[in-house]
């Protein structure tokens, strides 16, 4: 019943959108017919179409994402809007998008080329706008080898340099994650149950892994794997802590499983029980010097897994 009820008449395409955007998006254009431009570009991770926004001067790029929950509508002033989405425009490093084409050219031709021969896409003609971004030209050296012949410049993708650049991206992301309340231990969704402040045993690795997961949304799967090696991220062994990589498996219905909060809730409760509900005797035992002792479970586990 619900399924059929949710169908919308074909002529009611949304003609109104609610957007949260950085203030510079509203900088007035130099020309009266100018203005920020929403356009499709290739998502550098999937290679598929995604929505981006250039500001009026086409010097800044923003990624547009939607907060989209079921059963949401808006009251806007004295009007109702069926489409309850809230769009977010957030800054996007245009180099990620250029990198997609550089890697593609490296795979296909593998030679030094002028940039305007690399960043071409018949399906996404707006991609040439990226080359007009001053920021792209300023930061290009992070990901390429360069040759100058005559006064023309030729470029070639460099994985070595790119990994170095991505590592810096990871560390600047880690810095912000640490100062924010985001819970990076275990999985993304556990942030919904444990406030970041309560976690005391979050390791540096957890932050790095989380940041790696975030940045992997902007690079190819192959490069993401390379980056993980480059960062020397240890493989996760404990079954509770699924690596963030796993959640990113691309499929039509990944979200449902990710958002199954009940799972995290129950595992969380279990953990809490073991730490908070200890009898006096247990507490006393906990203080005993355990050096050289094995846990009982160690005798039963098949693999000599690390025990706490």
């Amino acid at each position: 019943m619900l399924g059929s009820g949710r169908r919308r008449p074909a002529d009611s395409r949304p003609d109104q959108w609610v957007l949260v955007a950085p203030e510079p998006v509203t900088d007035l254009p130099m020309k009266p017919d100018g203005g920020p431009l929403f356009t499709r570009l290739r998502n550098p991770s999937t290679g598929e179409a995604a929505l981006y926004l250039f500001n009026s001067s086409a010097q800044q790029l923003f990624e547009v994402k939607a907060f989209h929950e079921e059963y949401r509508s808006w009251f806007i002033g004295q009007a109702v809007q069926h489409d309850g989405r809230l769009l977010f425009a957030t800054p996007m490093d245009p180099l990620f998008l250029v990198l997609f084409y550089l890697i593609k050219a490296e795979k296909e031709q593998g030679k030094f080329q002028p940039l305007d021969q690399v960043v071409v896409d018949s399906e996404f003609s707006s991609c040439t706008m990226l080359l007009q971004c001053a920021r792209v030209m300023d930061s290009l050296h992070h990901v390429i080898e360069e040759k100058e012949i005559g006064n023309k410049k030729f470029y070639k993708y460099s994985q070595e340099k790119t990994l170095k650049w991505l590592k810096k991206k990871v560390s600047q992301t880690v810095k912000v994650l640490k100062s924010s309340n985001v819970c990076v231990g275990g999985r993304v969704q556990s942030a919904t149950f444990i406030s970041g402040k309560q976690i005391t045993d979050v390791k540096e690795d957890d932050y790095v892994r989380y940041a790696h997961g975030l940045i992997s949304e902007y690079i190819s799967e192959d490069l993401s794997v390379e980056l993980s090696k480059y960062l020397q991220l240890p493989e996760l062994t404990s079954p509770e802590a699924d690596p963030p990589l796993k959640k990113r498996k691309f499929s039509d219905a990944p979200v449902e499983a990710e958002e199954d909060y009940t799972k995290f809730n129950s595992s969380d409760l279990k953990n809490k029980k073991t730490t908070s509900k200890m009898s006096a005797a247990q507490k006393a035992l906990a203080k005993v010097d355990k050096t050289g002792m094995k846990t009982i479970s160690a005798f039963f586990s098949a693999k000599p897994k690390a025990t706490k």
Partner: protein, 199 residues
């Protein structure tokens, strides 16, 4: 009995609130079952922030759609709007006497706002647009006949805050929208230029 923000019958048609149980089970950012016209595109992209999914302004992302220009000429005179994100689908686009029926019924408690809407108890929280950001309502007055023509949306109004409403329970920090609002800060870190100095 107080019947809350009852809208006149004509505008109630098609309004459907969902059962509380469905709400507790509500999962953010889902891509399936999206009404025709707002399909993100075939298959949803991997998402950096689980509360956010790919967005589109076209009926389908896969078609070769022309860019959409944002006309800012009305920026100066654009009015500020009050926004309420409702926990239900209202199958209607158009005017609604919000200030006559909904707004006066809102009660400000010590922790949260509450209102009765079509016999349901809603709990709400006002949230600010992140610092350095602006809220914009964009409107497309006329859609060109062909896909090749550039489309234009104009700035209809702006907002600095919005009220998010849930059915029965108040929005908390683990609510989808509140988590989504922390995305800009993280995105800025990921996408900030890398400094030249060696690590």
């Amino acid at each position: 009995m107080h019947r809350g923000g009852g809208l006149p019958p004509a505008e109630c048609a098609g309004l459907r609130t969902t059962s509380p149980s469905m709400h507790q089970d509500r999962r953010a950012a889902r891509c399936e079952g999206v009404p025709v016209g707002v399909i993100p595109f075939s298959g949803c992209a991997r998402d950096a922030w689980p509360q956010l999914s790919s967005a589109c302004l076209w009926s389908k992302m896969s078609e070769s759609s022309s860019p959409v220009r944002l006309d800012l000429s009305s920026l100066r005179e654009a009015p500020q709007d009050v926004l309420h994100m409702l926990p239900c689908e209202v199958e209607h686009n158009g005017s609604a006497p919000v200030d006559r029926y909904f707004t006066p019924a809102i009660r400000q408690g010590s922790q949260e706002k509450s209102v009765s809407f079509r016999g349901r108890s809603l709990k709400g929280q006002e949230v600010m647009v992140p610092q350095g950001y602006v809220g914009l309502v964009l409107k497309e007055d006329q859609r060109p006949c062909t896909e090749e023509e550039e489309r234009t949306v104009r700035l209809k109004s702006t907002f600095g805050a919005l009220t998010v409403w849930n059915l029965e329970r108040a929005p908390s920090a683990d609510d989808g929208l509140l988590l989504a609002l922390s995305w800009p800060g993280i995105a800025e870190a990921i996408h900030a230029p890398v400094l030249k100095k060696e690590q």
